[in-house]
């Protein structure tokens, strides 16, 4: 197998995104390189999801340029995405993972053992044969993580994966994300939960109203925010 080209660094150069007359993201320049988890933080509607979709290549920017490892339009073979509400295929849990493995080009004979290992990694080994759509919200999100990890990604993009989960399920998801980070996968994750930002130490990219306001190490951001928007957000004010 040939060595896959790297998608990192992921570079956004003066990127903007408009939908009709609405500006979703304004002139964002940003380099995402290998390293600590990168948390995209900001109030609802600040453009976190739009930014992640651009990074995945699901949406094309209306202005500026995005490159992955220097290439402008590489197939997303080294990237994976976990949605806030993942869509479960109408198959068993293991079927969802083998499907992702097949799409990632895993040879047929390796799929079953790798699916088993992935389900074990996310703690769903006992539910392998359960129809995916009958799993609980937390289990579905873990299955979505297994599906994403099946792509053997270099960058894992997550869009508020714990937004609808209870604390126990949130912890399970965070543990998987942290172990993925430790195994060398670059985590780029949207969150508006400050507790979560504190737990997943790394760096913070703070968005407000579609603008990149601030980028700093997690602790610096939480203790000494440098912009008025970030201070207001951290105080718990509504940033409109």
């Amino acid at each position: 197998m040939r060595a896959p080209e790297s998608d990192l660094p992921l570079v956004l150069d003066g990127v903007s995104l408009k939908a009709g007359a609405t500006t979703l993201l304004r002139d964002i320049s940003l380099t995402i390189a290998p390293g600590v988890p990168c948390l995209i933080v900001g109030p609802n509607g600040s453009g976190k999801t739009s930014l992640l979709r651009l990074c995945m290549g699901l949406t094309a920017p209306t202005g500026g340029r995005i490159t992955w490892g220097g290439r402008t339009d590489p197939a997303p073979t080294r990237r994976a995405f976990v949605f806030q509400r993942p869509v479960m295929l109408r198959r068993a849990a293991s079927g969802n993972v083998t499907y992702a493995l097949a799409q990632a080009g895993t040879p047929r004979w390796q799929r079953a053992p790798r699916a088993k290992a992935l389900l074990q990694r996310v703690g769903l080994a006992d539910l392998a044969h359960r129809p995916a759509r009958l799993l609980s919200g937390g289990e579905q999100q873990r299955l979505a993580l297994a599906r994403a990890l099946a792509r053997d990604p270099e960058i894992l993009l997550l869009d508020e994966p714990t937004a609808n989960l209870d604390p126990a399920a949130t912890r399970a998801v965070e543990e998987i994300v942290m172990s993925a980070a430790q195994s060398g996968i670059k985590i780029v994750m949207a969150s508006h939960d400050l507790g979560q930002v504190r737990r997943l130490v790394g760096e913070v990219i703070f968005l407000a109203r579609g603008t990149l306001c601030e980028r700093a190490a997690t602790n610096d951001f939480l203790d000494h925010p440098s912009t008025a928007e970030a201070r207001a957000f951290l105080r718990g004010d509504l940033v409109v």
Partner: protein, 230 residues
């Protein structure tokens, strides 16, 4: 003897002529459903997933064709298949094969149009996830058809119901030949006009029971599958 009693007797006695007619009807309609599905499902899915100029016209046309009058389909095929017609060399006019062709033409739009709607709805749900997994066009089509499998049963049933119940097309291209191309519906029409009501009523009852049984089975499959796949 009252007509409905002798109708019952015909059924209970297992009248061989009657059951030959039932077998032929079912065979023709099932073959037509299979053919129409083999072509209509991929085409419906393709139409759901592609965008090209004139697509809305095609969608409206396909939806409109769900209501094609069977006698018109029969007449058109009669002209095509008759000895002097462009497809006359096949020599299938007044055979069960011609009846299968007629019913296939009749139900293809139903299966294709319902498949298009189903696949388009499911695609709206799956689009982001499949794009993130970098699934290609063929993969999309097969994935969506497979994941919509239980909803598509309804499309097959709608096609089967239409095929089993129509009389105009099979009458024209089949010719209603006794023991060869006589189906339940053509027999009911013929026997009623002849005044032989017991046979007509017996066949009518069987037709209704069959359609009910098949729909009940499909409904059961749907419930069972929902419990199984959520």
């Amino acid at each position: 003897m009252p007509d409905h009693l002798s109708a019952l007797q015909l059924i209970l006695a297992g009248d061989p002529a009657l059951f030959a007619i039932v077998r032929l009807s079912l065979g023709v309609s099932i073959a037509a459903v299979a053919l129409a599905a083999a072509v209509g499902m991929p085409m419906g899915a393709l139409l759901a997933l592609t965008h090209f100029p004139g697509r809305p016209v095609l969608v409206v046309l396909l939806n409109a064709m769900m209501g094609l009058p069977p006698v018109v389909v029969g007449l058109a095929l009669y002209l095509l298949l008759s000895r002097s017609g462009p497809l006359g060399t096949f020599g299938i006019l007044f055979t069960p094969a011609a009846m299968v062709v007629a019913q296939t033409v009749l139900i293809f739009p139903i299966i294709a149009a319902l498949t298009r709607q189903t696949i388009e709805d499911l695609w709206a749900e799956y689009r982001d996830e499949l794009n993130a997994m970098h699934v290609g066009p063929i993969g999309r089509m097969t994935t969506l058809l497979w994941d919509a499998r239980f909803s598509l049963i309804t499309a097959l049933l709608a096609g089967f119901g239409r095929a089993a119940a129509e009389v105009g097309a099979v009458m024209i291209v089949g010719g209603n030949i006794d023991g060869f191309t006589r189906t339940m519906t053509t027999t009911v029409a013929l026997e009623t006009s002849k005044g032989n009501l017991p046979l007509a009523m017996g066949l009518g009852a069987i037709l209704i029971v069959l359609v009910l049984a098949i729909n009940a089975a499909a409904w059961g499959t749907r419930i069972w599958s929902q419990r199984l796949t959520g």
